[in-house]
Symmetry: D3
Subunit: 318 residues, 6 copies
């Protein structure tokens, strides 16, 4: 079965794919005819596709996020590859394919990621900080198993958010050993909490963000997480004026570093400075790694990456 | 008694003033002598002053924020007026002067301002919004009687914050009549809440801000007020996810309009757009009015005003 | 008759509409066939449309800005609604429809708006200021009856400019009462003059701007209005160096506040500061009100609004 | 006689200088004593100076912009050279010194500069353009003989404005020969008019700008010159809507290139593009030449130059 | 034969053109048919074109950058002109047309441009500077005969780079005569070297840039030219620390003036300041001249020009 | 002996200090008297000081960067602490103090830092990369033992540059293990080379930068290091066009990330992205650690730190 990233112009192919998007449209002919405007995807990437001869049955058979078997050809349209679908049918139990094979996912099992996050949380020595973190994590416990970290920016796939947290926790551990003046409890808490409200900020399914929630648009995940800490303190009976509550809220509020990037205050504690830069280091490197992962072997340059000053990345030939 | 704004070069004068700042310093002579480096103020402005012949008794007699009677002369030092103090004594009960005469204050009595704010709050028809607003106002009830709205930017004087609120409420009333599609409850609530955390963000005495609090620096009044609304909802038993809580938090979070001005989200409801522009209109006009108020009659240009693109304001002669 | 804003995918409809734009194009077929590429509009919005079977007669019958009766169906093309026209004929006298019903217009009659502007002008107490304002208004007297205030930004409809002026005059009156130190004559004059050259900056018909004039592009309405004041002073025999001429030109030149927004100088009089912020308050709130006005009842979010930091506006459900 | 730029720490000297600034101040001693706070200047630069033993006669003898003979010593105060004046007397007729020797001036005689400008004006072939230019030049005819082009930025000396014009006219001639598609009449007119209102924007004496005029602050030289062209057209009976008036106003309005540099419109004719870049080329090179001119022979680096991105300029040693 | 810039909607025409781009695509029909998606060009401009009836032979006959004879018609597609090709054949020897007639080129013969550059190089009096320049020129000697100066920005045609250099050398000569304090050797060297690495930064054929090289993307022409000077010094036995090497590298590194425009250092020598502004003057005026050159006689406004603040240029009618 | 950071107002003290700066100045008295304007420093910080009674011998005895024994008192001058020196003598051999005790230095011995850098260099597996790195390191071998990484920004002390490299190498090792797709050879090389030219960009003694070199100002350390790689390739016989040379030059050129921060190109390889963010993480955390290190125990806030968006850092009390 051909992976989407290996398809090239003029290819003919048969295989299983995910109908990531599907819309019924009409041609300009007289009389107009229905056709499907489709986005196919698998774990290696995605491609737009057209299915021109749509029957009434087809319109009741195929829906977005369904698995299908397709026979098609690849051609170039407006300088991009496009699939012309010849045959299409729904995947059945006998085909032995499952949805999760067709979506992009973190390279570590979600259950392991969430376990690691819990372990980090348990290793926090300060009882109050641990309680505050646990309260917030509990709010999104289930979504941590599959939510992406962003719509397109970075870690935009199944369990991408948990994966981002785990990687940052590893870097955080290392930096705390290298610079013992840092408070490891606070840095761990900051890493776990900084994006904790993202699952409520975005609407996602199978690791794919379809939209932002009303709360996400009107408050943003930064202010949401800050309010969750207020809520946590009240529910856990911790003084709202305590230095711990203050330190955690500052970590969350300042982690985007600048006002124009969404932080109402700038990092002003050692751990807040560390948190921002560990976040940047992990997110940027993941963007690079993800872009190179789906780069066809024959290519040297990825597409432009918005988070990297809109520059492409070069893969050396040696 | 000569007001500070009427003093000019070479003047000799006697009068009562406030020792707004006072520090003991030493001259470079051998042996070095103690002197007082002073900032005098009254309701019309302030001026730096020196008192060169400081006795041991003087050092135990005079302290900042005390009222004194002074005989002095005015001269020019580095292009600014400065007072040389000839005689100084503490004001006594017999002098019949009181501290509040010597500080700059809103032109309406604090008790009337706070009464007006309470009336506006009472006029909110939605019971939940009214409760949320009342909870937050109660937190700073007493400080509303005297807190300024900012350190230097605008309304930087006794009861300046309450005065700013009251003026905005008047404009808000007018705009809601002009444009009935606006929700008057929300706009009133937004006006009362938008700067409600400023008394906890800043440390002030007699309308003069000496510093920002730790909370003020690490969280900022915007995030603080947003958290107060969370706290209010929990204490009043209002659903944290309700549209009302969301709308109020959005008003507070977005009222600085842009990320670089401290708002993590931009105004995205009609009332949030109105709130930001009413705030700007009132604050900017107050800066102008305050600067013209203390401008000597002989002058046409105020000093540069930071909040007005760092431009001075011209007063026409006709 | 179905309003354009109520049309949705798959609808079939019959009704009268305005041919806001119409172009004859050719299909790619062999031989190529002519078709009409059309923008339909009514008072509720606009929609693109295609008419595929164009006869020689059709090409001599239908022209832009004409009223037509249409039978059509709605479908989705590239994620936007598009009309396929089945039948089309010109509206006739018997149909009893008139052009002005089909364009978006200010909610107050133009004649009333212009009357209000004249009243405000008459209420200016300073004789010279009144003359200068009257001279400039006379230049665009007729166009004030129908010109929009902008191409797309705000008040972009029939008599939008006069409507913007009238609303600003109302706010100006209120603010002058609230802050008596403001010169009401100057503020009125500034409100009337600030956009007075827009009808010469833009080319508009029926409230729809099709282009900017050569003068508009090379000078801009700000410099144009400033020159009109010079012209007015010369024609009215008022000294070009007088403080009144200076004050009015400053109001006009500074009303966009910043150089990057087109003002060569920044506001430096009390009235200029007031003018800019009243202009901003009215324009921004009108953008919001206009966007909500055409928002389908089923929707909660308007499209992104360029003048509001490119953000959409949310309409609460309660 | 020692030039100011050759004075160094510990020097003792006697010579004639200009009292560019003089203020009477008082020491902190008891009783306080009067002293003069002075800025001395000659054609090579300027230096601050103190004269400590001021008599009553002295205060009636010495005033700013007077020529004096001085005996003094040079020392370092806060890392800058400063003169301690030992003896001072007014220059007399017998001394044979004249004010113009002591100020910085363009390297060409004002009368020759103005003659060249008139010649350029006469060489304009289009009668209307010539009339418009002549009208504006006539307004500042006399001031062109001595006005600087700016307060500090560039050509900040006697006749600096006329010198800047003449140099630009030379470059303009060359570029018009190199690129015949440019309209030489318009480019000449643009060069003569672009800064023509500067003598009314600034208040200057002997090539030294002491302040901006009220008109200069509230309108700026760009809008002022644009209005002068309006005035010129009316007085010369030229249609205000003519392409020539439009072209000249566009040249003036756009010559700062960007809104943030004060131009309400950007260059949109060939001549306007040429004008801006010829202006920049001449102004920037003059800043460099002027800075190197007053650089002591022993130094390699000039002070930072604001108009050159705040960078100093290096003079190579070979 | 009709030049491309004279073609208008509905024209039928026959003539020779260059196949600047050609791609084989497929229609959406069943079965899909091949067609050519083409960009035609000649010395006057370019136009997109479609050839719908492509045979197997055609696909082996026509390739990009080939000359063809075409019979076609012009129509409008999405508001742009497009050609429908009726007949197409390859140009033959008998047709007597040559490739260079069909591309846009500098108005002076390449051989003359390169000769002028060599003369300028020979006129450098300092032996070391001359050697350094000669070494770098030798690296791109052949490409100077035909390389453009940029992809689209300015001088984007055959021998555009050499033409840009020659024009700048003319301006440089003039400015050095006007301001003798400038070092003419350095300015000449700077003009020749500033863009000398562009032929290695870009991949171009017939004056048309198809892409940037890997070196061009990862290092940029500025750092490349700086390294060439290092290489030149080593190969010519000139001390790498010498003031001459330093001066030339500074000229190259600083010529874009600002960091955000690609210069790691800002101009800090007189010649570097001159170089930047001569470069800007020549490049901007060439953009204007090129845009006006291809503007149809009936039009007054060019398209928007990116290098001119994204503004169009107006051509007056008189 | 009292450390400078422990001195407070009114203290009297005796101890050994470094004369970091010393200048002879004159008082305004008649006759003027010489005095020393001094900056004292030790490993804990620095303080300005005055010595009023300077004898002729003193002027030949005391020079900058000498060790002295001082008896003095501390007072406040213009809100800053200042020392009045009562007695001063040079330190002698018997005093048993050495210069290095009085300067701020990296917490690891220089010899160990340089050894670690050499080890990292040796561990590079690619022979060509190793040679290129070794050539560049050899150029500054000796200065690596003591040069700071910057004038004031970060690691501004003895051996600060080597310390910065070693810390970054540690982080680089960790990240390469965490993300094996990174080329460890390139990342090591990039870390060693990115600031390698700083010792030639700045003039420093005892870890204190007094100025930038002419090369440093005209080329900057980024372009200098890039040229060194060119030189290294030529001297080592490595093809200048090779991918390795290209990769190293790209790492150096892009490591400041943005044009406005001095990088002529942006990171476009995985290792370049990693290098920039590791550099930022280490530099910012070091700024924080250094600022907290010298913060008096009684204080909670450091001064504003320019590299941290000009914000101070807060030290929690728990």
């Amino acid at each position: 079965m051909t992976l989407i990233r290996s398809l090239s112009n003029q290819d003919e192919f048969i295989g299983f794919y995910l109908l990531k998007e599907l819309e019924v449209k009409q041609t300009n002919g007289t009389p107009p005819k229905d056709y499907f405007d489709i986005v196919l995807s698998d774990s290696s990437g995605q491609l737009s596709a057209k299915y021109w001869d749509v029957s009434a049955t087809d319109k009741e058979t195929f829906f977005p996020m369904g698995l299908v078997k397709i026979q098609g050809t690849v051609h170039t349209y407006r300088e991009k590859l496009q699939v012309k679908i010849m045959k299409i049918r729904k995947a059945t139990a006998e085909d032995g394919v499952s949805l999760t094979e067709f979506i992009r996912a973190a390279p570590i099992r979600p259950v392991d990621l969430v376990y690691t996050i819990h372990q980090a949380m348990e290793s926090i020595t300060d009882a109050e900080i641990k309680k505050l973190v646990a309260f917030c994590v509990a709010k999104v416990e289930e979504k941590l198993m599959h939510y992406p970290a962003a719509k397109t920016h970075h870690h935009a796939y199944y369990a991408g958010l948990a994966y981002h947290m785990v990687r940052m926790l590893e870097i955080g551990d290392f930096i705390c050993k290298q610079r013992p003046f840092l408070n490891a409890d606070l840095l761990k808490a900051g890493i776990i909490l900084h994006d904790i409200a993202k699952p409520e900020e975005m609407v996602a399914q199978m690791g794919i963000v379809s939209d932002y929630s009303v709360q996400g648009k009107l408050l943003g995940h930064i202010a949401m997480a800050s309010s969750w800490i207020t809520e946590a303190a009240i529910q856990c009976g911790i003084d709202l004026q305590s230095e711990r509550v203050l330190a955690l809220q500052h970590l969350v509020l300042s982690h985007h570093n600048l006002g124009e990037w969404g932080s109402p205050v700038q990092p002003q504690t050692a751990e807040a400075v560390a948190l921002h830069h560990i976040d940047a280091l992990d997110a940027k490197l993941q963007m690079v790694e993800d872009a190179l992962d789906v780069l066809p072997d024959s290519e040297s340059w990825t597409p432009m990456i918005r988070g990297l000053e809109n520059k492409p990345v070069y893969r050396a030939k040696w």
